[in-house]
């Protein structure tokens, strides 16, 4: 089984984010990127499937700071093929990224495409369904378990309220991974260093990156504080009396 895992790098929220002068994008001067957590789970799920039933895992990413380290770590976990798309991705949204990934994925001809179900910087929809459309494959999202069964997979799909469904999907297919069956594993740094000496990253120029596709951001801003909160002061008794008054006034009591 051939599995392709396209991943995305997203702004690291450990650093503070600021808006650039245009007022419609993040200031990239201090931006640090990190692997989208759900994509990390997608890589893990792919390696789990390979360990369980054999196959070949290809991990794909657009170029960004830190991508090489991530790809080598994926190889140390068990990925066989590392692909880095080169080009100017700085203003690219998921529609354009999806198209670029789809072109490369077509050459791999995978049975299964696993990607994170979402990312915190998805402004124009998540990557999975876009990929499925460009590849002409079915898509199931919110997946937290995959069992391969011949030319189809049975996936565990999570719904809100704690419901889980088992869905049968014919291959090839795109799955949006919510969580891998076991948490992403740790690889000792010595192992990663070893892989750096042997693994090769296949660099491919991304074709026809179109920043204008999808949606346009007209304004990006920090959450703004409003002045609708009222502070209740006094003894606990006073405060509870006032609170009951407010509830009554609002028709809640």
């Amino acid at each position: 089984m051939k599995i392709a895992v396209p991943v995305k790098f997203v702004p690291d929220l450990v650093e503070e984010l600021s808006i650039d002068a245009s007022g419609a994008a993040l200031d990239t001067a201090w931006l640090r990127l990190i692997i989208n957590e759900f994509d990390d789970h997608a890589v893990e799920q792919a390696v789990i499937l390979k360990e369980r039933g054999g196959g070949e895992v290809a991990v794909l990413s657009a170029e960004a700071d830190g991508v090489d380290d991530f790809l080598f770590t994926a190889a140390a976990k068990g990925a066989d093929k590392l692909v880095k798309l080169t080009g100017d991705f700085s203003t690219v949204n998921n529609h354009a990224l999806g198209k670029a990934f789809a072109e490369t994925i077509k050459t791999i001809q995978p049975d299964l495409v696993l990607t994170g179900v979402q990312a915190h910087n998805d402004l124009d929809g998540s990557l999975g369904p876009l990929l499925a459309e460009y590849l002409g494959m079915p898509f199931v999202g919110y997946v937290s378990g995959v069992t391969v069964d011949g030319d189809k997979v049975i996936v565990r799909k999570e719904y809100s309220g704690g419901l889980v469904a088992e869905v049968e999907v014919k291959l090839p297919a795109v799955l949006g991974i919510q969580a891998s069956e076991t948490p992403p594993r740790y690889v000792a740094y010595s192992k990663i260093r070893q892989v750096m000496g042997t693994a090769k990253i296949d660099e491919q120029a991304a074709e026809g990156l179109d920043a204008a596709s999808g949606v346009t951001v007209s304004r990006m801003f920090q959450p703004e504080s409003a002045e609708r909160a009222a502070m209740l002061e006094g003894s606990p008794e006073d405060v509870s009396d006032k609170l009951i008054g407010i509830f009554k006034e609002a028709g809640a009591l």
Binding site: V14, P183, Y186, Y189
Partner: protein, 401 residues
């Protein structure tokens, strides 16, 4: 019931045993008497399926693969008590336990909590997962301003390697600020690396991540080489141990002192400044990597007794026989895992000893300890009034800084 373990892969035991023999003093492993002292003195020996002595036994029986199938080696907090009391002088902590953890780590047998601390170290250069750019944020408001070498590029006498918890931990920041004020009051010309400082990596190494330790040593070494200074002082006994005993073999060698050593050398200058009385019975907790591992017992006590009003009391475990706070060797990042196994905390045993010794203050000199002991004191009967104070905080108080 008799249990027989037959070797699954005897060659694994042999390969591992041979790798131990190659380490410093590793040959001593052959001299193990199987006396059980190591397992007895180990705070968590009673809970480990394979405490140190049994691991050596398993190696001799060529059943080491069974050790790797258990996870109780992760109860080891690298406190070095086993090593200190081994009659055959076997480097149990440094060689046996650390190498065993390395094998577990390579096999992917790592508790999740520990994993995230290691990942954070790899990514951010500190196990707390804080932004490297905020490493010097604790300096805000200190006067005269703390010299961040990357900004000022001025040569200094002393490079203060602050360390992870002393830089970032919300409880520790006040102790770090206190030390900065004490150094300023003494007129010490010092500087810090700030955002260029990386984790010392020692606890990560003792948790089996040697590669990460080497990476940290390399990055800190690069930063040290950029600036002019005569010696390094550090707040953190783990950093002290790394700089003194680990980094030189990796080509990073500087004279280094723990801050208690550095200050005790300036006691004559310090004494007249210690004006305000701190009237309290004070018990000093010997940090493992200051005391037991590196023999610094008297310097912290020398500082405490110089403070007017302080009456030093000793706990039942002290000096070479000190009891770990539970934070070493990865313990700092295994609280949940260890609680699940033991349903007790070493830090609580220690707080109980402080209460029994009649202490008002538990004085410490390692940045792992204030948060650990303060949390423990909340759970120990009659410990409500016990205060946990860094020595630097007590000095600053007596100096009215």
């Amino acid at each position: 019931m008799e249990v027989t373990l037959s070797p699954l892969s005897p060659s694994q035991s042999k390969t591992f045993f041979n790798s131990l023999l190659d380490l410093k003093e590793g040959e001593r492993l052959r001299a193990c008497l199987q006396c059980g002292t190591c397992s007895g003195v180990c705070p968590f020996g009673y809970i480990m399926k394979f405490p140190p002595g049994k691991i050596i036994g398993a190696l001799r029986a060529e059943i080491f693969d069974y050790v790797l199938k258990t996870d109780t080696v992760w109860m080891c907090i690298s406190c070095n008590a086993c090593t200190a009391f081994c009659p055959s002088n076997i480097p149990i902590t440094e060689a046996l336990m650390t190498r065993t953890k390395e094998e577990l780590l390579l096999a992917g047998n790592v508790p999740t909590e520990l994993q995230s601390a290691l990942e954070n170290t790899q990514r951010y250069g500190n196990p707390l997962g804080e932004s490297p750019r905020k490493r010097a944020d604790w300096t805000a408001g200190i006067q005269p301003e703390v010299n961040i070498l990357g900004k000022t590029r001025q040569p200094v006498d002393v490079l203060w390697y602050v360390g992870d918890y002393a830089s970032y931990h919300s409880r520790m920041k006040s102790a770090t600020q206190a030390l900065a004020k004490v150094l300023n009051a003494l007129g010490v010309k010092f500087g810090i690396l700030g955002p260029e400082e990386f984790s010392d990596g020692d606890s990560q190494r003792l948790a089996g991540e040697r590669g990460l330790f080497e990476m940290m040593a390399q990055k800190n070494g690069q930063a040290f080489r950029k600036y002019k200074f005569n010696e390094i002082i550090t707040t953190d006994p783990h950093a002290y141990n790394a700089l003194k005993n680990g980094y030189p073999a990796l080509g990073v060698e500087y004279p280094v002192k723990h801050y208690t050593q550095f200050l005790v050398e300036r006691l004559e200058q310090l004494k007249p400044m210690l004006q305000k009385e701190v009237k309290a019975k004070v018990a000093f907790h010997d940090p493992c990597y200051l005391g037991r591992v590196n023999g610094i017992f008297d310097q912290p006590r020398g500082l405490l007794t110089a403070i007017p009003g302080v009456e030093l009391v000793e706990m039942s475990h002290q000096r070479l026989n000190s009891l770990c706070c539970g934070g070493g060797g990865g313990g700092m990042w295994l609280d949940g895992f260890q609680w699940e196994k033991a349903h007790t905390r070493v830090s609580e045993w220690r707080v109980r000893e402080a209460v029994t010794a009649g202490a008002d203050i538990l004085a410490v000199a390692c940045p792992y300890e204030p948060p650990r002991f303060e949390d423990a004191a909340k759970n120990v009967p009659n410990a409500g009034a016990l205060k946990v104070r860094e020595i630097a905080e007590l000095l600053a108080e007596s100096m009215s800084l």
